[in-house]
């Protein structure tokens, strides 16, 4: 063994200048929410590493990270071709036994060697993808957000792969209690100016189910923490999206169908109540921004609370649902 192969404390590694990830969020396709034990079974991706389970401030389980090896060009906005090799980390999380997320992410140092190293080198740096040469990180960050061309690193594919694997789990009866669509959130984080705190530069609701987030974070912020923040953003964005759709899909205030002369008990539930009830049963208690966001990144939520005001919108939606249900709870005296 030559000394050159060894990394003592002497070797300085180039700093991480870019982190990127993609989150998939969907309703767990099961009639009943999973309890902690079932959650641990679903998320137990490895025999020798336990699922992290937490009960405060809400029920939450997270799988161990799994790695996928990659060796391909990174997408870049200016067309530069930068080959990179390493591993992308992916994990899954289940909130209140109801909302399933898969999250894949990686970080990239400012520079790397211009040749591929033995695979063992990359495996001791889990979740790191090393560029060949110097990384034009602004162009790559934009390229990653825009989505790459075929054959370029696709972190969404890795999140998808993990989600697909979990959705086939025998614990799931494939009978979701309400209709919803999965969402995708793609994020990049670039270094903040020296001495500056973290900030959200842009949160975009792009085409249909895609959201993109561009962040600035202080040097040394762990990629896992950033992924945790983005999981939290994705979860709450999905909740908003799903509840907005539920309310969108029903015709509020529309004339009731002609009242039958004597409705039989149990059959007179109006369509509005039928549509709103699953939201009350399964979604309304899930709103809990920042429940597990790393201390240093929690302030980023404030920007979104200010504009567009995530929690403000949520409260309005919840209030509308409650008002509707209250209205329908009043017997239609006028009609009788």
């Amino acid at each position: 063994m030559t000394p050159g192969q060894e990394s003592g404390s002497g070797e300085t590694r180039p700093p991480v200048v870019l982190a990127c990830g993609e989150v998939r969020t969907c309703l767990l396709p099961a009639l009943q929410a999973l309890d902690s034990r079932a959650a641990a079974q679903l998320l137990g991706l490895r025999a020798d590493e336990r699922v992290l389970l937490s009960e405060r401030p809400n029920l939450y389980g997270r799988s161990p990270d799994t790695l996928t090896g990659v060796d391909c060009p990174l997408p870049s906005a200016n067309g530069a071709r930068i080959r990179a090799v390493g591993t992308v980390a992916a994990r899954a999380a289940l909130t209140e036994g109801r909302v399933l997320q898969s999250s894949a992410y990686f970080r990239v140092p400012a520079a790397g060697p211009d040749h591929r190293r033995p695979w063992g080198h990359y495996l001791v740096r889990p979740g790191t993808v090393e560029p060949f040469g110097k990384l034009p990180y602004e162009a790559v960050a934009q390229g990653l957000l825009n989505g790459g061309r075929h054959g370029e690193l696709d972190v969404g594919l890795i999140a998808d792969g993990l989600l697909t694997r979990l959705l086939r789990h025998p614990l799931l009866d494939q009978r979701p209690p309400l209709k919803s669509r999965p969402t995708r959130l793609r994020w990049v984080a670039l270094p903040a100016e020296h001495g500056e705190g973290p900030s959200i530069e842009r949160f975009t609701l792009a085409e249909d189910e895609l959201r993109t987030v561009r962040l600035r974070v202080p040097a040394g912020t762990p990629a896992g923490d950033i992924a945790g923040l983005c999981d939290d953003l994705a979860l709450h964005d999905w909740l908003l999206t799903t509840v907005v759709r539920i309310l969108d899909g029903i015709r509020l205030g529309a004339a009731e169908p002609p009242a039958r002369t004597r409705p039989r008990a149990g059959e007179d539930r109006p369509a509005v109540v039928a549509a709103l009830r699953p939201a009350v049963d399964h979604l309304l208690h899930l709103w809990m921004p920042r429940a597990r966001v790393a201390h240093g990144l929690a302030p980023l939520w404030e920007a979104l609370e200010d504009r567009p005001g995530f929690t403000r919108q949520w409260r309005t939606l919840v209030q509308r649902i409650r008002d509707q249900l209250a209205l329908h709870a009043i017997p239609h005296r006028e009609a009788s």
Partner: protein, 319 residues
């Protein structure tokens, strides 16, 4: 930043630390055929090992301090069950002592498959992250062969030629880390019997053995294959009654170490090549890896980054 007031232990990862020597020196493997060849065979083995063991000791010392070195010996009780510990172990120790060697730790190969109740081999198999060939952009490698692990891309499967079409020409396999020319290796990790019973291959168990000696195995954060002290003078009549890892010398340095060295006959070369291919594609517990890195740095002892590079061998000529 202030320390969090509220904590949940189930929500925090933890990794048990294990004591570490500088070097884990393996004095040999024992298979049935070695035992059947009689004590003289073992005597010749230890006589050949001795100078190399001394050289490894001399090389392990660093910066004027006493190097912590532990010796170990592995007995195969997995592929074939032969004799009994009461017969084998005293003879083994006697022949080692005759050559001036002391065996600090004795391990059973079946402990690398299942140690106590821990399915070690299965857990390690779950940590394989296959080396991606160039062009891997996030799709799972399509060529994954269950139960096999290669150091590169396999030859494409030849399809049966259709009528009027020429058969596809043979394409060579390709070692990913090749320097111009490939040395392609495809390792069988296990096979499943008709009864569904899985038998792990010798190279795979040997890779688990290396990880154990490097102190990098954990089960839910707990150390596995923890040495048990040897009490009393005798050895049991049944291999199952012998702990998977036994500390024979109460004053021995820790079993696990920053590096390993094995002194074995050259017939093991293909197996150990396969071990390297496997070790190079296993993502070991990051907590265990961090503990090794932190402690070796504190001791000012250089440890190679890559796990496969922490393993070394002396192959002596012969059987």
């Amino acid at each position: 930043m202030t320390e969090a007031v509220f904590r949940e232990t189930a929500a925090e990862p933890r990794t048990q630390a294990v004591p570490l020597s500088h070097l884990s020196l393996e004095l040999g493997h024992l298979y049935m055929e070695d035992f059947e060849a009689g004590p003289e065979h073992l005597r010749r083995h230890f006589e050949r090992v001795r100078p190399w063991a001394e050289a490894a000791r001399a090389g392990a010392g660093g910066a004027g301090r006493r190097a912590r070195i532990s010796t170990c010996f592995l007995i195969d009780d997995y592929f074939t069950r032969f004799a009994s510990p009461a017969e084998v172990v005293p003879m083994l120790l006697e022949e080692a002592a005759r050559a001036g060697l002391a065996v600090d730790y004795l391990a059973r190969e079946s402990g690398c498959a299942v140690a106590g109740k821990t399915p070690v081999a299965e857990a390690v198999a779950g940590r394989i992250v296959e080396e991606p060939p160039p062009g891997s952009y996030g799709l799972r490698p399509p060529v994954t062969q269950t139960g096999w692990l290669a150091n590169g891309e396999r030859s494409p499967v030849a399809r049966a030629p259709q009528a009027m079409k020429k058969a596809t020409a043979w394409q060579p396999p390709k070692e990913t880390a090749a320097r111009r020319h490939s040395v392609f290796l495809d390792v069988e990790l296990w096979d499943d019997g008709p009864d569904g019973h899985r038998t792990w291959s010798c190279p795979f168990l040997a890779a688990v053995w290396q990880l154990a000696r490097l102190g990098l195995l954990r089960d839910d954060g707990e150390a596995v294959l923890v040495p048990q002290p040897h009490t009393g003078d005798s050895f049991p009549d049944d291999w199952d009654e012998l702990p998977p890892l036994l500390r024979l010398n109460p004053r021995a340095d820790p079993f696990a170490a920053y590096r390993t060295c094995s002194v074995i006959p050259s017939r093991f070369l293909p197996v150990e090549h396969a071990v390297r291919v496997i070790l190079d594609q296993i993502e070991v517990d990051p907590g265990a890896l961090a503990q090794t890195a932190e402690r070796s740095a504190r001791e000012d002892t250089a440890v190679p980054d890559s796990v496969a590079d922490r393993v070394s061998y002396v192959f002596y000529a012969g059987q």
